[in-house]
């Protein structure tokens, strides 16, 4: 079971909430202070992407964020309900949303070493984890 589970309606303002919660729980779980900024950014990117996909597909289901404290790692999974949402390259498409989506994944890949992006007919899933020393 996830330690903390957050669901929010696909609206940009809640991405801030997700960043806030992820950083607070990660700190408590012993994730290094120096990594928290990047973690906050990565979670925000994953949630922003999920919100965008839900809006694109007109989905009214919530975006899901699971925060799990492991023995030595802290994991975050962001799940959406958009079918086949693994990013496709489009040629020369000047669609801002699409471009931002690619930028978002570029930021996540640049920041997170332990990353897993998956998608199927049910939806997409971005899983990220960071080392965490057990809190004193």
């Amino acid at each position: 079971m996830a330690t903390v589970d957050l669901r929010f309606s696909a609206s940009p303002e809640h991405v801030r909430t997700a960043r806030l919660v992820a950083a607070a729980v990660a700190r408590r779980a012993g994730v290094d202070e120096s990594v928290l900024d990047e973690l906050r950014l990565a979670v925000g990117e994953a949630c922003t992407r999920a919100v965008g996909l839900h809006k694109l597909h007109g989905l009214r289901t919530p975006v899901r964020v699971s925060l799990t404290e492991g023995e030595k790692t802290f994991s975050i999974e962001v799940g959406d309900d958009a079918p086949g949402s693994v990013p496709q390259q489009r040629d020369g498409d000047d669609d801002a949303g699409e471009e931002t989506d690619e930028l978002g994944l570029a930021v996540i890949s640049g920041l997170v070493d332990d990353l897993e992006v998956a998608a199927d007919a049910e939806g997409g899933r971005i899983r990220m984890s960071w080392p965490a020393a057990a809190a004193v």
Binding site: T100, L103, G110
Partner: protein, 113 residues
Amino acid sequence: MDLSLSTRTVGDRTVVEVGGEIDVYTAPKLREQLVELVNEGNHHLVVDMERVDFLDSTGLGVLVGGLKRVRAQEGSLRLVCNQERILKIFRITGLTKVFPIHDSVDEAVAASD
């Protein structure tokens, strides 16, 4: 912190000072501001990001959009940023090659296109 925006003119440059968080929630305000400036004929923009606390890919997208817009008018868009954690986001997305990034507003204003 929410987004703050203020604009001033220095010679033929328009300096947009941005503060706070540029994210999916606030980026639309920045986009509006840039679009408005360009529509009003300000084609040489300097975006001062020294007071930006947070920047995500939505913010990057808006800046890229701004750049395309001024270039269509043979204009320019220069960034001012000294903060390592913000610069890192430009680096990992390869956008340091796309934007001229300066250490100070003075330097950005003095740069010739």
